[in-house]
């Protein structure tokens, strides 16, 4: 072989070896990447599970906060349902006597019914059955309404507390807000004015259970913000624009400083004293909104109030 060819042959051999070495490196890296990927996927799965647990715990913690108010909500109608039924049972005996007398009267021949008529009249007068007869329809109506209210509160509670699935479907956010508001009825002091401007919204593809948790969180916070304020007002407004829906929750409470505003979505951040609040509510709310492809913005002025604006795509 000529000198030049020999040089080329040697160069060729070197290049071959180098290339083989490079290929080996590529293969090793690929195997490493594959294993890393496996690990990451396992981690992701674990994190998602932990997040699910966190969200559920936050929800239950919130329920704890609401429990007193809800108990009050249930107690009110149960009080007059109870009172009505007491009244009904008081009148049960005279009514039974009345029915018995009527039966007696119907058995008698026509002429002798006069005697029984007298007894009936006396019974009606003594037991004030006339009054009861007038009041009975309203009593029944009130009792039914009261029980209906309780059924609704319980249904809302159960729906809220239930560990939700990850499914999303087209939902009516206004209905969601309304059912959430029912849970909050006693949460706000009686002096708090609640303004609602709930424009009908197109159905939004979402997990309503999760969004209700967001609304609840913001409303409870608004309630805390206006504690001790004069003329406390919380307003909720919904509107739709293009392919998005907008929910605004405004309060005229103590507001937030710029420093606080910057941190509200940070996990575990809270302005509440130790033992009150987990500090997770806002960060979870933020996570849920962003997960749905939406945005959550906050404007606030110390001493004047706070506005939260949630924007969600209809086809999230």
């Amino acid at each position: 072989m000529s000198d030049e060819a020999e040089l080329y042959r040697k160069a060729y051999e070197r290049e071959r070896e180098a290339r083989k070495a490079a290929e080996q490196i590529v293969e090793n890296h690929t195997r490493e990447l594959y294993l890393q990927n496996q690990k990451l996927e396992a981690s992701l799965k674990q994190l998602k599970e932990q997040q699910r647990v966190l969200v559920q715990n936050e929800k239950l913690a919130m329920l704890g906060t609401l429990a007193a108010g809800i108990a009050h909500e249930i107690n009110n109608p149960m009080a007059f349902v109870h009172a009505n039924l007491e009244l009904l049972s008081d009148y049960l005996e005279p009514y039974q006597k009345l029915v018995a007398l009527q039966r007696e009267a119907l058995k008698l021949p026509h002429g002798q019914q006069e005697a029984v008529a007298g007894k009936i009249a006396k019974l009606v007068a003594d037991a004030d059955l006339g009054f009861f007869e007038e009041e009975l329809p309203e009593l029944m109506e009130d009792t039914r309404d009261g029980l209906q209210r309780v059924l609704e509160i319980v249904a809302n509670l159960r729906s809220f507390a239930r560990a939700h699935t990850q499914e999303r479907q087209p939902e009516d956010l206004v209905a969601g807000l309304q059912s959430t508001l029912k849970l909050l009825n006693s949460q706000f002091r009686t002096e708090v004015v609640l303004q609602q401007d709930l424009q009908p919204l197109p159905l939004v593809h979402c997990n309503l259970s999760e969004l209700n948790q967001v609304f609840l969180n913001l409303l409870v916070n608004a309630g805390h913000a206006v504690e001790g304020s004069k003329g406390a007002t919380i307003s909720i407004a919904t509107s739709a624009a293009d392919d998005k829906v907008i929910i605004k929750i405004v309060d005229n409470g103590i507001g937030m400083s710029d420093e606080v505003k910057e941190q509200i979505f940070v996990p575990f951040f809270t302005t509440k004293p130790v033992g009150k609040g987990t500090g997770m509510g806002m960060s979870i709310a933020y996570g849920i909104v962003v997960d749905h492809g939406g945005e959550i913005e906050v404007e606030s002025t110390e001493g004047e109030g706070t506005t939260f604006t949630i924007t969600l795509p209809i086809n999230g």
Binding site: Y12, R19, E23, V26, E27, T30, R31, Y34
Partner: protein, 180 residues
């Protein structure tokens, strides 16, 4: 087809006929001829080059491809010894192709079109391999099996009663251990 197969073919051709033969063959096939082991190339490119090799060697295609298969086994075994080392005998190795080897290949390389290989032992000295592939390279597979048999020092004879080239949807290759 993964570049490593082209590399091995090049090794075999240059071993037999030097750099000259390989140059001739790729010129005849009409390709540039630089192949990286980890890349993927068109199946047709390989078939053209093999065709050119068959012409150049002036031997029946079947015997060239079978010889390539046997040679290829040796090369793969030396590049990836872990697969042969973890199996003690020929049949275990053949059974590991689908469950171990091809699994690893899929991990490393994304676009692979590996054949489906299912083994079943029949009695003491026979194993039937069910081979399915759009490429119908059963002759190559036979060559590889012979190469493996050589490595494991197990003389065998392969019967090929059912074949995709004869119209079936798969090949049945019966590997019989002979006792010569």
């Amino acid at each position: 087809m993964k570049g490593v197969v082209f590399n091995i073919l090049e090794d075999m051709v240059t071993e037999k006929g030097g750099l000259m033969m390989w140059q001739k063959v790729i010129d005849k096939a009409g390709f540039g001829g630089g192949y990286t082991a980890v890349s993927t190339y068109n199946d047709d490119e390989l078939f053209s080059i093999v065709g050119a090799v068959v012409e150049e060697l002036d031997l029946p295609a079947e015997s060239v491809i079978s010889a390539f298969g046997t040679y290829m086994f040796g090369q793969l075994a030396s590049r990836y010894p872990v697969f042969v080392d973890s199996c003690d005998d020929l049949f275990s190795f053949l059974e590991s192709i689908d469950s171990v080897i091809h699994l690893e290949v899929r991990k490393l390389m994304t676009e692979t079109n590996l054949p489906s290989i299912k083994c079943e032992r029949i009695g003491d000295g026979q194993l039937v391999m069910d081979y399915r592939s759009a490429r119908r390279l059963c002759v190559l597979a036979e060559g590889l099996i012979y190469g493996a048999a050589e490595h494991y020092n197990t003389p065998i004879k392969i019967e090929h009663p059912v074949c995709m080239h004869k119209g079936s949807d798969h090949c049945d290759m019966r590997v019989n251990i002979t006792h010569e």
